[in-house]
């Protein structure tokens, strides 16, 4: 399905995750990091794994990474993106993994290990979503 009304399912912002979406709206990618060990954490949690330490902060990371795995979706009940599209898990250089789409590339050219970079794609006045595209 697609059409002029087709759009992504919007994330529901809440108080806890607001720092991520606010930064994304400003074009910055932030993740959680332990103040004591420097380890990064994604997806965000109320505390840090594995010890449930709460000594953490949101910190900006460069949005460069590689494709850990992907699937080209030819049939979908979602209205957006139009098929075929690429759902992927991306390993950022700082060691965390993001789920996103690989855009600006022929889906059939996507490979595991492909180097990608983030772009914060505005959806509306509040939300920008991190999507990834190939980089040299």
């Amino acid at each position: 399905m697609s059409g002029k009304d087709a759009r992504r399912i919007a994330p529901m912002m809440d108080n806890f995750n607001e720092p991520f979406w606010s930064a994304a709206r400003e074009g910055r990618l932030v993740v959680q990091r332990s103040k004591s060990t420097g380890a990064y954490q994604w997806p965000p949690r109320p505390r840090l794994l594995p010890d449930w330490d709460d000594d953490m902060e949101w910190t900006e990371v460069p949005g460069n990474g590689t494709v850990y795995s992907f699937s080209v979706v030819y049939r979908s009940s979602h209205t957006y993106p139009p098929t075929p599209y690429v759902i992927a898990v991306i390993e950022l250089d700082c060691g965390v993994f993001f789920t996103s789409n690989i855009v600006d590339v022929d889906p059939e050219k996507v490979r595991i290990g492909m180097k990608v970079k983030v772009a914060l794609e505005p959806q509306d006045e509040k939300i920008s979503l991190p999507v990834f595209s190939p980089r040299n």
């Binding site: 529901m12 699937s71 080209v72 979706v73 049939r75 979908s76 759902i87 789920t99 595991i112 979503l129």
Partner: protein, 386 residues
């Protein structure tokens, strides 16, 4: 467990399409038939379990209360745990320990779904989680259930050289078994070429790597050793059970590439005091060929990375060392929104020598595996006969 709790009744609806039939009607049909199979009556039942979220996949239950009321049950033991399609395997393990502890004498577990005609909340069916909480970082990118299987399988292919043809052999094996099952949804034999040439749904998953969509249901009945001895059929003993959850988030798939199946299987083997080599047949949850593939490795039937070679060896075929999905499985026989109840029923039939598709000779120990939630939930039950 040593002959404390047994499955004494099992019934799979022969329905495969049920347009206009309320799923609750199929629940009632299956419960009655499973009790008849056991030689028990409705008034014997004092425990009930069903998965409370099956409405998301073609069922009608959003809680256990509504269905309990409809059936007229007054259970003193109930369980409505829902971790997706394999939930009924979890209900079996929990019912076994609860019966052993005296919380109930006769527990019925039932499932029914009519996803082809029953209103299906499509967004949630595909999304599984809402776009709030952890889901807000994944759902906007439109993952589908099939693309999740694709993400796991593509990674496996990259890391270990597994091929689409090896994966396809799982579907071909199920179809060969289904050819013998008069109730199976599809019975015409197919080839590896048929599978890999069928339309790609979400790479590397082809249409024929996916389960059939049926409208059906099933039920099983469990009771304690004392009552089991008086039932109509020989008891199928629960020997071992294990379960495990890991993260649902796709972004953590690397951490669960060895899936929670490893832990649920290990726990079930430990309780039964046996290992994978002692299993005569495995009924493995087959929503898509990768759910079988990962179960073969993570249940220890072969090493991680060797699933492709294990399949090539013919081990999972009816004539092999580990016949799987002997009724045709969800890939060819029966898969409404969920498959969990049917892996249990087919394991029971094999142990009784009542397999409707392929019957494994001298089948004494069977394993039933259920999974749910994008490889996040795994439940393993091991059963045996006297």
């Amino acid at each position: 467990m040593k002959k404390e709790v047994a499955i004494v009744g099992a019934y799979e609806s022969p329905r495969r399409l049920a347009s206009g039939v309320h799923p609750y009607e199929i629940h009632a049909e299956c419960i009655k038939a499973a009790l008849d199979d056991a030689g028990l009556t409705f008034s014997d039942v004092d425990g009930f379990a069903t998965a409370a979220g099956d409405w998301s996949e073609g069922g009608a239950a959003s809680d256990i209360l509504d269905l309990t009321d409809y059936l007229g049950l007054r259970p003193r033991y109930f369980n409505s745990t829902d971790v997706g399609g394999g939930s009924y395997v979890s209900h079996t393990g929990h019912a076994a320990t609860s019966i052993a502890a005296g919380h109930a004498d006769v527990v019925v577990i039932s499932y029914a779904g009519c996803p082809k005609w029953w209103p299906l909340p499509v967004t949630f069916w595909d999304g599984l989680t809402y776009p709030a909480g952890p889901g807000q970082f994944e759902i906007p990118f439109s993952p589908t259930i099939i693309s999740t299987a694709g993400l796991f399988m593509n990674r496996h292919m990259h890391q270990f050289g597994t091929t689409s043809e090896q994966l396809a052999k799982i579907a071909v094996t199920c179809r060969a078994n289904a050819a013998n099952n008069p109730h199976a949804r599809y019975r015409t034999p197919m080839t590896v070429e048929d599978v890999v040439n069928s339309p790609m749904i979400a790479s590397p998953i082809h249409k024929l790597d996916c389960c059939v969509v049926t409208e059906s249901g099933g039920a099983i009945v469990l009771t304690n050793a004392t009552r089991a001895r008086d039932c109509a059929k020989k008891p199928v003993w629960i020997r071992g059970y294990g379960e495990a959850l890991s993260s649902l988030s796709l972004s953590e798939m690397a951490k669960r590439f060895v899936t929670p199946i490893r832990d649920s299987g290990a726990a079930a083997y430990a309780m039964a005091g046996i290992g994978p080599k002692d299993i005569d047949t495995a009924q493995l949850y087959d929503a898509f060929t990768p759910t079988v593939f990962f179960a073969l490795e993570d249940l220890g039937f072969c090493e991680k990375g060797e699933g492709g070679a294990f399949i090539d060896s013919g081990a999972i075929e009816a004539s092999g060392t580990l016949p799987i999905n002997t009724d045709g499985g969800g890939l060819s026989s029966n898969h409404p929104g969920r498959r969990g109840i049917f892996v249990l029923i087919e394991a029971v039939r094999q142990l009784r020598g009542e397999g409707p598709g392929v019957q494994v000779k001298n089948c004494r120990t069977a394993l039933a595996h259920g999974m749910g939630g994008y490889f996040a939930a795994s439940m393993t039950t091991i059963m045996g006969i006297d």
